[in-house]
Amino acid sequence: MGKRKKCKLRDIMEDVGIEIDGQVESDSESEEDEVKDKRSKKQTRREIVRANRLERKKSQKNKEENESKEEENCPQQSRASRRKNHRMKRNDGKKGGGERDKKASSKDEKESENKEKKTNMKGKEEENKQKKGRKNSASSNSSNSSDEESLSEEELAMLMEEVEQKKKLISTMRNKPWRMMKKLSVLREAQAFVEKFEGALGKGKGKKLYAYKMMMAKKWVKFKRDFDNFKTQCIPWEMKIKEVESHFGSSVASYFIFLRWMYGVNLVLFGLIFGLVIIPEVLMGMPYGSMPRKTVPRAEQATAMDFSVLWDFEGYIKYSALFYGYYNNQRTIGWLKYRLPMAYFMVGISVFGYSLMVVIRSMARNANESTADGDDDNFVFSWKMFTSWDYLIGNPETADNKFASITTSFKESIVDEQESNKDENIHLRRFLRVLANVLIICCLCGSGYLIYFVVKRSQTFSKMQNAGWYERNEVEIVMSLLGMFCPPLFETIATLENYHPRIGLKWQLGRIFALFLGNLYTFLLALMDDVNEKLAEEDVVKNITRWTLFGHYNSSMENSTATPAPLDPADVPRGPCWETTVGIEIVRLTVSDILVTFVTILVGDFIRACFVRFMNYCWCWDLEAGFPSYAEFDISGNVLGLVFNQGMIWMGSFYAPGLVGINVLRLLTSMYFQCWAVMSSNVPHARVFKASKSNNFYMGLLLLILFLSLLPVAYTIMSLPPSFDCGPFSGKKRMYDVIQETIELDFPLFVAKIFGYVANPGLIIPAILLMVLAIYYLNAVSEAYQRANAELKKKMQLQREEEKNKRNNKASTNSMMQDLEDLLAPSTKSESSPKQAEDKKKDSPNQASPVGKQEKAEVLNSSPIAAGRRAAFIPPPHVLVTRPLTPGTWAPYPQPRQPWPGGRPMGPFPGRGRGQPRYIHPV
């Protein structure tokens, strides 16, 4: 507030000699030398104020009866006061009487008190103006100076405060839960008040500034909202997943979220491999046909372009940049001197490195998230009930989805709740669970032995020349039969256990995972056999090649003295290139897996759904409710399919760089296809359950698979010699030699030395030891934190319970507190009275029905604090405010002023407050 304003204010007040009530008595007679007429006026005003206060006191006593009227009075009164103001403006002389009248009629509390003061001041203000005019004409400087003394600092401060309050009121007007009419009228008054006492407050400017601020704030909010929308739009398939989630629950959605995450990881891998290996090779490497490894052999050339050959990834595809064998062992390629073999090796390693990092990081983040929210589970249902509807929804389709999702989420929470409330025979359940686990372990062992047996047999079969179709394919058949029948069997057994579906899903996932490990094992075994065979073959071919080349040159030397024409690359005999073989094997497997998955969905879900849907009209039994019915979405199968597929990709990406590209395509189509399939032909689970907050179980499986697939690749890199005539490492003893070579040739000597030291076992072993120790320490710390966390949670829960209990008991135990509460009531009321007023208007039936009132009274008694806070919505018990307090008295207060017919109160008392019902309330 500017000094100037203050001065102005002071001027005004000086003229009037204003008094604010409450100040009256304490005011000493220090105003002796006041101008006479002014003094008399002041006197009258003082009287008014005094009378006013008396009136108010009386009114407070009468409040019991007047309670309701009073509240309705509020807006009316303000209107009345406004009217009065007008009148006063017109006839200034009669002002005092008018005011007195008005005040006599006023029976409000602080709110209206304020108003009174205000009107009071307004009146004075009017007077003031008049006087000022007079004074100006008379130019009475002396009176001005004399007034200065008459005005005490306190009065000024009071007035300032008043003005401040009004201004605050104006600025917070929009936050008041009042009816617009009331807001407008109160606003008008407050503005008038402020205007009078502050003069030109720079209101117009402030308003503009405010409007500008408002606009900016709004723009900001809108921008934030748009940005959020934009962000969600940037998240691919967010809407699709939300839609699935709204109909099938978060458990099904968790699969799609996992799928999306996998897609993201694969995109990065794809970028790495394509950007650093395939594209440089295609752009800068030797072109196709320039050397034997980049050329289709003469014998295959005739059929190399046939579709059946290409479908098997033979022919031109085999001799393309998609596979290991195509790459040359030239140290640098192109004008960039790009070190391709080095890049190939590093990318192969970083694929694993990146995957490991990203899986572990996301696991850690998920774990963080699931522990971060502490007391969020206190209001699960309440929040669902009151905040799940989004008021922005204006589109019927979105609304439908929202309804579905709300219902689903309620069902999920209900399942959780029922599960936690379930109490059955614990011993029986334990027994059943042990039994189920024994059964499943038997199943797993049996199938493990079966696989082992079949693999053994197949090795003998492979040595036989005339093995039949069954003998050749026995392993595959057994594997797919196991994969087909075991999961449903597990599921049946799992019903014995009677787990919560979420936990059940985890068990199911773990069991099927164990089963599928057998699958992986046989596949790897077959692959290793293949590789060993190829390695043996290679030695033979190596010699042949050398001899062929030697022969070729010799023959050409004999024929002519000129330099011999080089042998056509297609004619050069070449080794089997086991790396490409492995790559092709894995690519084939992946592609067939994709096809099987899609066909299964198409037949098992879509065709079945169509059949059930349309044949239901002409069938003997109810297809939809009866036997085939619609399929449920198979979460465990799909998740495991995804996980194992990813394992294949990791394993194969080193030998077939193009594999990741295929996988990216697969995940992309699978996203759309499965979303469509699940929405069109599946039904939600019978018990829709909530997915666990973190996808960490899926991630754990993924991590395991990553580790398992890392092992064979690491083994082949570290201990098998690369093929001599294909791939970027040809000619080296081991693949990792490429690093040594780079260090020796491209780095200064001391780097090589450093590497030598670092690779020293004497350094590595202590480092590993240190890491183990660090892991141990961190583990201990995290455990301690966890314990502390659990402890805190328990404490909080306890505190909450305690608080609840305290509130419950308060009404009966602490009557002192209650009286205190009563005393404090006016202050709470003063700010809430408008609310009451409008509420009153709304539920007038309440007033009419005494029964409702009584109930309310009882409720109030049960919880004084809550009642105080709740004053906003209940006609509050401002009953005994001015009564003499009788602490510790339990009997109903004497009610001299309440003429109850029949002596003793029979029925409910509308405003009885904390009297009798205290006994009634059972606590």
């Binding site: 009816r179 617009m180 407008l184 799940s388 204006g394 309804f403 309620f410 419950n808 709740r870």
Partner: protein
């Protein structure tokens, strides 16, 4: 632009601006929306505070409210007579509270009113059941509804009276993470 100014006087606009979370333009646009719902009844000239009310049927068919399961309750809570017909003042009031700028406390008060179906100043079991039925389009079984209602009361009822008073409600809702977002509607895109 010229005739727009005749709808409200400057003082009126200023007052509305002070009492709501809207700017001048938005208030004029709100008037436009109000006017177009019933062009015959609502005058273009509001300088003299005409006493015009639109029935609930018209209001709840606004696209902003049409899909809202609580549209009747919203309109009722904001109508001065409690019957659901809104004067322009009530109309502005409603969207002011529903605007994104409105503070949490204000929204909580009106949210409480909205869910208090029988206007007894408590959210009791019957209110909760109604709310739930509206939210889920009555797709839950009776048992599930009872379970949910009991859980809600158990969670939020701090004073143990078996129903939710405003204090309970506010306590509960003030901790909700997406309360503000949930109770915001924008008439003025």
């Amino acid at each position: 632009m010229g005739n727009k100014q005749t709808i409200f006087t400057d003082e009126q606009l200023d007052a509305y601006q002070d009492c709501t979370f809207f700017t001048r333009k938005e208030i004029l646009r709100l008037h436009g929306r109000y006017h177009e719902m019933a062009p015959n009844v609502v005058p273009m000239d509001y300088t003299k505070d005409p006493d015009v009310k639109l029935p609930m049927q018209l209001i709840i068919n606004m696209p902003e409210l049409k899909e809202n399961p609580f549209k009747e309750r919203i309109v009722e809570s904001f109508s001065e007579d409690g019957e659901g017909s809104l004067s322009f003042n009530d109309f502005v009031d409603m969207f002011s509270v529903l605007s994104e700028m409105a503070p949490r406390e204000l929204k909580a008060i009106y949210a409480f009113k909205i869910y208090d179906f029988n206007t007894d100043n408590f959210i009791c079991k019957a209110d909760l059941e109604k709310t739930l039925n509206k939210l889920t389009r009555e797709e839950l079984t009776a048992e599930e509804i009872t379970l949910v209602c009991e859980k809600v009361i158990e969670e939020a009822d701090m004073d143990g009276d078996g129903k939710l008073g405003f204090a309970d409600f506010e306590n509960m809702i003030s901790k909700a993470p997406d309360f503000l977002r949930a109770y915001s509607s924008s008439v003025l895109p």
